[in-house]
Symmetry: C2
Subunit: 226 residues, 2 copies
C-alpha cells in the first residue's frame, strides 16, 4: 500500500556515487525487517509459540522470503539469537572501566548492565527461551562461541586494582561479581509479572526501578569490600 513512503534508503557509497531512490526491491531491508519481526515474535512467544506466518506478516512480506533468506524457522531463530548477543557485546565495548576508580568502575558496570537489560527486554526473553532449551542453539553457533564477553577480563583488572589498594577482599572472583550483577538485574525484570502479581508492588514503577538500580550497586559493592 504505502510502498513509496518510508525509507528513502540509498545505496550510496562503494558503488561510485550512484545515488538513486531505494527500489521496492531491497534485499537488505527485507532481510532486516524479517529479522526484526522474528525477534519480536520469538521474544513474545518463545520458539514453540512463535508463528512463521506471524513473522512474515509483521515484517510486511511473506513466508517465501523468510525461507529464502533464513532457511527455516530454527535457523531464523538462531539468527535472531546471534544478533541479540552481538547487540550486547557491541554495547559492552562502549564501556571503559580502566580509567575509573575501582569502586566507581564496579558501580558503572552494574548500572550499565541494568540499563542494558531494562532497555532490551527482548534480549532477556531470548535468554530465557534459550535456557529452556538448554542452550541448544547457542552451543551450536560457531559465531557466538567466538564472541565471548570481554567483561570478565576487564572486570578482573578492575578488581585487581581494588584489591591492590586494599579496597576489595582478595578472594573476590570476577565471574561471581558479574553473575551477582546480572542475577539481580535479570531476575527483577524477567520475573516482574509473577512478582508484581504475588507481592502486589509494581516493580516497573519509575521510583522502584531507580531504587533497584541503587540496590544492585549497593549490594555488589557491599559483597566485595573488605
Amino acid at each position: 500500500m504505502d510502498k513509496a513512503g518510508a525509507g528513502a534508503k540509498a545505496r550510496r557509497g562503494g558503488n561510485g556515487g550512484r545515488a538513486q531512490r531505494a527500489a521496492q526491491r531491497d534485499p537488505e531491508r527485507t532481510r532486516a525487517s524479517i529479522l526484526a519481526a522474528a525477534t519480536v515474535e520469538f521474544a513474545e512467544n518463545g520458539i514453540g509459540g512463535a508463528r512463521v506466518d506471524a513473522i512474515a506478516e509483521r515484517a510486511g512480506t511473506n513466508k517465501r522470503m523468510l525461507y529464502h533468506y533464513f532457511g527455516d524457522k530454527e535457523q531464523l531463530y538462531l539468527a535472531v539469537l546471534e544478533e541479540a548477543y552481538i547487540g550486547i557485546r557491541t554495547a559492552e565495548k562502549t564501556l571503559n572501566l580502566s580509567d575509573l576508580a575501582p569502586e566507581q568502575g564496579v558501580a558503572e558496570l552494574a548500572m550499565f548492565t541494568w540499563k542494558y537489560f531494562l532497555d532490551h527486554p527482548e534480549f532477556l526473553s531470548l535468554l530465557g527461551t534459550e535456557n529452556l532449551h538448554r542452550a541448544r542453539w547457542l552451543r551450536q553457533s560457531t559465531r557466538l562461541k567466538e564472541l565471548h564477553s570481554g567483561f570478565i577480563d576487564k572486570l578482573a583488572d578492575l578488581l585487581d586494582r581494588g584489591k591492590a589498594k586494599g579496597l576489595f577482599r582478595i578472594d573476590v572472583d570476577p565471574l561471581n561479581v558479574y553473575l551477582t550483577i546480572a542475577a539481580l538485574g535479570y531476575f527483577y525484570l524477567s520475573n516482574q509479572h509473577t512478582l508484581t502479581t504475588i507481592f502486589g508492588r509494581d516493580l516497573m514503577d519509575e521510583a522502584n526501578l531507580e531504587a533497584w538500580k541503587r540496590h544492585i550497586v549497593q549490594v555488589t559493592l557491599a559483597s566485595i569490600r573488605r
Copy 2:
C-alpha cells in the same frame, strides 16, 4: 504391560477400613499421573512447545482422560502451575525463623530458597514460562491469589529483631531482601546453560554449587548489615 506391578495404592481411611487392592481403574492415580506428566512436558517445552499427545503418552493414558479431568490444554497448564506454587508454599511452612538469631535466620532463609530451587528445576522453568506470558494464568487463578507467600511477614519480623539489636540497617526492606535471595538463586540455575556455554565453567559442578550457596548467604548478609 506392567499393570499389576507398581503401586498397590490402597484407599484406606475415611471409607470404613475397606482396604482393597487398587483397581486398574483409579481416577485419583490417573489424574495425578497426568498432572505429573504435564509438569514435565510444560517445564521442558513451555506452553507453546508442550504437546497434549506427549503428555497423555507420558502419563500412560490417552487424551480423552486428559480432557476429562482438566478441560483443555490451558486449564491443565493452570493446574500444573497451581500445584507448583502450592508445593513451594507448603515447603515454606516447614521453615521456622522466629526461634533463630537474626543473622542465622536470614542465612537459613537463603539456604532454604537455594535448596528449593535446586531441587525443583521444574518450578523455575514454569516461572519462566509464566513470565514469558506476563503472568497470564497466575493472574487469572483465584486459588493462587489467596496463596501469597508467608515469607515476607516472617522475614520482616526477623529483620526487625536484627534492627533492634543494631545488627541491620534500619532502612532495609524485607521484599528487597527476599528478591535479592531469590534473584541470586534463580538466575544461577535457570541460566546455567547459556552461562556455562559462554563462560566455560560448569556451574552445576558440586563444588561450584556449594560455593554459590555460600555466596548467596554472604552477599545477602553483607547487603543488610550496618
